[in-house]
């Protein structure tokens, strides 16, 4: 019985490792690519990897939202911004190996060591009683009862963001 389950689990673990690698390699491309468009493609790879991890974390809905909102909306918006702002001779970021790279590497290493310590020194204890209800029905109920204020606030924030970005991109008050 257990032996027949094993191959499926094995394949699932292989896919899991693939998603983790996808997320990490996409992140490396996103921060180090020479062209901004390549960096954006790296971000898309990362987002797909993280969406796959959300599947393993028990939420199909969040995984779909990740692909829909991030890849479908945010990345397309960034593509538009790149096309609107860059002239061909500017597309390359010319990095000299100077103070900036050292500063960035130092800050990254400091954050990495802090967070690494935090993960491994903390005893992670699960909550005493857990409902285990991952369903979208529970999410919807919570969102419209206990987290109603947050739900309204996020719609307000999005509305202001839309109005603000239109005003900013049209050229401000002057013209």
């Amino acid at each position: 019985m257990a032996a027949s389950v094993l191959p499926y689990q094995f394949v699932s673990e292989i896919f899991f490792c693939g998603f983790v690698l996808l997320a990490l390699s996409g992140g490396i491309i996103a921060v180090s690519a020479k062209y901004l468009l390549h960096a954006l493609l790296g971000l898309v790879v990362t987002l797909f990897g993280v969406a796959g991890l959300y599947l393993y974390l028990g939420s199909f809905f969040i995984s779909l939202m990740q692909v829909l909102i991030y890849v479908g909306a945010i990345c397309v918006t960034i593509v538009f911004a790149i096309m609107l702002t860059e002239t061909p001779e500017q597309t390359k970021e010319n990095h000299k190996p100077g103070l900036r790279s050292f500063l960035a590497a130092g800050a990254g290493l400091a954050a990495l060591s802090c967070a690494f310590n935090f993960v491994y020194l903390t005893e992670w204890q699960p909550a005493l009683s857990r409902t285990g209800d991952f369903s979208i029905i529970a999410v919807g109920k919570r969102l419209l009862t206990e987290y109603c204020l947050v739900f309204e606030m996020i719609s307000l924030v999005l509305l202001f963001a839309i109005i603000g970005s239109i005003i900013l991109a049209r050229g401000g008050r002057g013209n």
């Binding site: 996103a30 500017q90 529970a138 109920k141 947050v150 999005l158």
Partner: protein
Amino acid sequence: MHMPFCFSGSLHIYLLTAIMLFVMGIFGMIYRRSFIGMLISVELILNGAALNFMAFNKFLAPDPSVGQIITLIIMGIAAAEAAIGLSMAIAVYRSYKTIDAEAVNDLSK
């Protein structure tokens, strides 16, 4: 028969992935010179945070719907932030003809 390894059932793997995304985002925030490159790094940071929330949601939280709600809200904030940031980049480009963050330093002169 027992599974020799189980990566997807370990909280630490998720936390380490989230840390790596977060650290890459911080690195990119400082390393990148253009506003849009910084914005891409911010998206990485937000993704690391959201992945952390989802991992705690699966392994530790008393009610697993709360982490999903928080992740949805992070996505909404990220969308708002991207819209504002990109329109600012376009506004800066309009008056400076570049989106290099080091070229936009009129106040420090």
